[in-house]
């Protein structure tokens, strides 16, 4: 016979203002099996917990019901207190008489009666509780970092420097991400490559980091501490171990007019190519869609010139399976597609470019060697118009958010232009200047005052060509919405930062949630900014929302600490809320009939098949068995099992039926 103790909390006046706590305590004392009941002002306080502990010892309680707030709030507190008094913590349950009773109903007899009903229900449940033991799960101390941009690089280095193994998976042939495309960075104007490339090299050389470039995540199974991840290593048509990166193949390749993605189409590359000179790894890949051999069946020039015979035309994609304890998603962002702005003539006029293309023009390693020359005829533009918020903050076009980085990089572009073309005039059309951040406002001020950038507050309605000039027509709202027309030589759009085109698919593979713009969603916008809703999967950088470099790096280090904290223990303690198939000795007497419907519905592939054999080794029955490490305790199999062979610890059939009956019968 169970000995239940009931502890009713006043929660100051949060409960007692509408519920007669003394009456609830007194009446629950009369319930069957309840041997002790009391009420107290703050049950979660130190004296309150001591009261429970002493009562457990004094009255030899083996079950405890705390009628207080939501179990989502204080269940761990009271279970810990019970455990300290020598009780199995899973024999303590909470009745929610605050959120579900005192706060939502007025002071009345009815409210007190409801509180009593809730207590009685939980008393009936707790009588059927069984002592459970927390489950220990080992942790694989390897992290997978998806994406090799600045966030991924920072995260991988931080985790690796804590002494844990890291596998970095990058989709492109080289790591570096968007940051490697930038010329200079705000607000210090230090060269992006100069600060990034040493980090890229560090990743490649770090003994704890395994780098897979030109690779993508194929599938993710398992759970925190024990993920099984399949990685597709796309064929580079190259034996990387043999290749020395001499680059002879890239100079001899006959296909030379392929728009270079790294230069955002402003330069050309060959079919066998290294994306940029500082690439890591600095070894080429063959772009099969543009390669003469793969398309027409003849050529093989690269194979002929390769001094070490490293070219492998018959190489196939390779799927490798790795185990990991945590994943950090740093897949970054994309820039709005050009066809978004027919009114700005992007795609129609060669001299209307986006911000990332301007970065390439300004970059010393770019297609113009750092000279600002317009793409159409290579002339130096004397008047240049920057259009901020191109796509951002435009509800009519479906992007309501601020892309955040554009105000700063537009100011930077204007400065870089002025530093290189002294007699040129930069104009900026803007909606608001958002320069929150250390030294950011001062930076914009410098662009305006020292570099004489003409800031015009207003939106541009259209860009069109007239007599070889690009006419930018807009309004100056600070001059009473006066129409403005500027004859420009070049127009630069600060296009909105958007999520990657394949982010939705990746989110579904990882089982993490995403927002309306397909950016990955954090578990809590303020308090869990680098966690996702899936335990063990973390986020960093611009895959969450547009972020600048300092923010991405900070988030990456934050995610790395979360991973390091997880890896600081050798095993993980999990709630023992897992399903179990009933077993008896001999196991052939299990009520499981082996229909394996449970196997079909289990979201975690936790159902295993167990063969029961006789003495001669013949299989006489196949039973379902649940892998406790994989089971997350949803109970879908329990409700489905037609022979009731499966039950869920903590929410067993007996407990749930007892609750339903107790709630209604009195």
């Amino acid at each position: 016979m169970a000995r239940v103790g009931v502890f009713v909390c006043h929660c100051g006046e949060n409960i007692s203002a509408t519920v007669d706590c003394e009456k609830v305590a007194k009446e629950s004392g009369d319930l069957n099996s309840v041997v002790f009941s009391t009420d107290y002002k703050y049950m979660c306080s130190d004296p309150g917990q001591t009261l429970i502990k002493e009562a457990i010892k004094e009255h030899k309680l083996d079950r405890v019901v705390v009628a207080a707030c939501s179990p989502r709030m204080h269940e761990p507190t009271f279970r810990k207190a019970c455990s300290e008094a020598g009780m199995n913590p899973y024999l303590c349950e909470m009745a929610n008489i605050r959120e579900h009773c005192s706060w939502v109903h007025p002071k009345s007899e009815e409210t007190t009666a409801k509180a009593g009903d809730l207590v009685r229900t939980i008393v009936e449940k707790v009588k059927k509780n069984k002592p459970l033991q927390a489950i220990k799960v080992p942790i694989t101390k390897t992290a997978i970092v998806i994406g090799g941009g600045v966030a991924g690089i920072q995260s991988a280095l931080d985790i690796a420097n804590c002494g844990h193994k890291v596998i970095m998976v990058e989709k492109q042939p080289s790591i570096g991400g968007h940051m490697s495309q930038l010329s200079e960075t705000f607000p210090t104007l230090d060269c992006s490559q100069c600060i990034l490339t040493p980090r890229m090299v560090e990743v490649a050389q770090h003994p704890n980091i395994t780098l897979y470039t030109y690779a993508e995540i194929e599938s993710v199974d398992g759970f925190i501490g024990n993920f099984k991840v399949k990685i597709r290593r796309k064929s580079k048509s190259l034996d990387e171990n043999l290749c020395t990166g001499c680059g002879l193949c890239t100079t001899k390749c006959p296909k030379k007019k392929i728009p270079n993605e790294f230069e955002r189409g402003l330069g050309n590359r060959t079919a066998i190519y290294v994306p940029f000179p500082q690439a890591v790894p600095n070894k080429p890949v063959i772009d099969r869609e543009n390669c003469n051999y793969y398309q027409k069946g003849t050529c093989k020039v690269c194979e002929k010139v390769c001094p070490v015979q490293a070219i492998r035309f018959d190489q196939e994609d390779q799927i490798i399976e790795v185990e990991a304890g945590a994943l950090v998603v740093c897949t970054g962002f994309d820039v709005l597609k050009p066809n978004f702005f027919p009114e700005y003539g992007y795609g129609k006029y060669k001299d209307v470019i986006d911000g990332l293309q301007f970065e390439r023009l300004a970059s010393a390693s770019g297609p113009t060697k750092g000279e600002i020359r317009r793409p159409s005829d290579g002339e130096i533009p004397k008047k240049i118009v920057f259009i901020a918020c191109a796509g951002s903050r435009d509800p009519a076009k479906g992007i309501e958010y601020c892309s955040k980085i554009c105000c700063m990089y537009t100011a930077k572009h204007a400065m870089l232009y002025k530093h290189k073309v002294h007699d040129g005039t930069p104009y900026v059309f803007y909606m608001d200047i958002r320069a929150g951040g250390k030294m950011y406002e001062e930076f914009v001020r410098r662009a305006i005052v020292e570099d004489d950038t003409k800031y015009i507050r207003g939106r541009v309605s259209t860009v069109f060509e007239r007599n070889g000039k690009l006419i930018v027509r807009g309004a100056d709202t600070l001059m009473g919405a006066q129409p403005v027309e500027i004859e420009a030589d070049m127009v630069v759009l600060a296009s909105a930062g958007v999520s990657n085109p394949d982010s939705e698919e990746l989110a579904q593979r990882l089982h993490v949630s995403y927002d309306a713009y397909k950016f990955f969603a954090e578990a809590h916008p303020k308090l869990k900014p680098v966690e996702t809703n899936t335990a063990g999967i973390f986020l960093a950088g611009a895959c969450q929302a547009p972020k600048d470099i300092p923010e991405s790096v900070a988030a990456a280090s934050g995610a790395a600490v979360k991973v390091a904290a997880l890896f600081s223990n050798s095993e993980l303690t999990r709630e023992p809320v897992v399903a179990e198939v009933n077993r008896q000795a001999p196991p052939v007497f299990s009520t499981c009939t082996g229909c394996f419907l449970c196997e079909k519905v289990c979201p975690y592939q936790a159902i295993e098949r167990e063969e029961i054999k006789d003495r001669n080794g013949n299989v006489i029955k196949t039973l379902a068995r649940i892998n406790k490490g994989l089971c997350q305790g949803c109970g879908t199999c329990v409700a489905l099992c037609r022979v009731k062979a499966i039950d869920l610890h903590g929410f067993s059939n007996q407990q749930m039926y007892s609750e339903v009956m107790a709630l209604l019968n009195f």
């Binding site: 939501s70 179990p71 989502r72 709030m73 929610n96 605050r98 959120e99 579900h100 009773c101 706060w103 939502v104 109903h105 007025p106 009345s108 009815e110 409210t111 009666a113 409801k114 009903d117 809730l118 229900t121 089982h511 949630s513 809703n533 809320v577 519905v601 979201p603 975690y604 997350q632 305790g633 949803c634 109970g635 879908t636 329990v638 409700a639 489905l640 869920l648 903590g650 929410f651 059939n653 007996q654 749930m656 039926y657 007892s658 609750e659 339903v660 009956m661 709630l663 209604l664 019968n665």
Partner: protein
């Protein structure tokens, strides 16, 4: 049967991650709703054995609410889809058996929808109050098929 004083007994079967948390939010936001609804917590709507609904009616419930995470938001990925599918099948069976499915409210309430939870509860109370006490269930005279298993103590 149309008694103004009639207060229906309603049992709510809710999942721990969305609707239970949503009902917590209703409390935290101090939004009022009728006291006749009492919540039973499940890990997931997928855990809800629909025989529990019959058990509730058998024990005198006048109405039932089942509520969990919105489709695609399930904490366990697919539990709510199984619950929904099961409900579609079970509803047909109940209709066939002459059980009043009007008294069962199936809804999705997320952890952020405190207001929606109060609405669901109040609307269900109104609806069931209009339907009156579920006397008909007793008339069906179901044999004590379910009553046995739990009366062994």
């Amino acid at each position: 049967m149309e008694n103004q004083e009639f207060e229906p007994k309603i049992v709510a079967f809710v999942c721990n991650w969305c609707t239970y948390a949503g009902a917590d939010l209703t409390g935290t936001s101090r939004i009022k709703y009728g006291a006749n609804v009492k919540i039973i917590r499940f890990p997931c709507t997928g855990r809800i054995d629909f025989m529990l609904l019959m058990k509730a009616f058998e024990n005198g419930a006048d109405g039932i609410i089942i509520s969990g995470c919105h489709p695609n938001d399930c904490h366990y990925s697919t539990g709510n889809f199984h619950a929904r599918r099961r409900w579609v099948v079970f509803r047909n069976l109940l209709n066939f058996s002459g059980i009043d499915t009007e008294r069962i409210q199936f809804s999705w309430v997320s952890a952020a929808e405190g207001f929606k939870w109060a609405d669901v509860v109040n609307n269900t109370i109104e609806k069931v109050r209009a339907l009156g006490p579920y006397e008909n269930y007793k008339k069906i005279n179901v044999p004590t098929l379910f009553a046995k298993e739990d009366n062994n103590e």
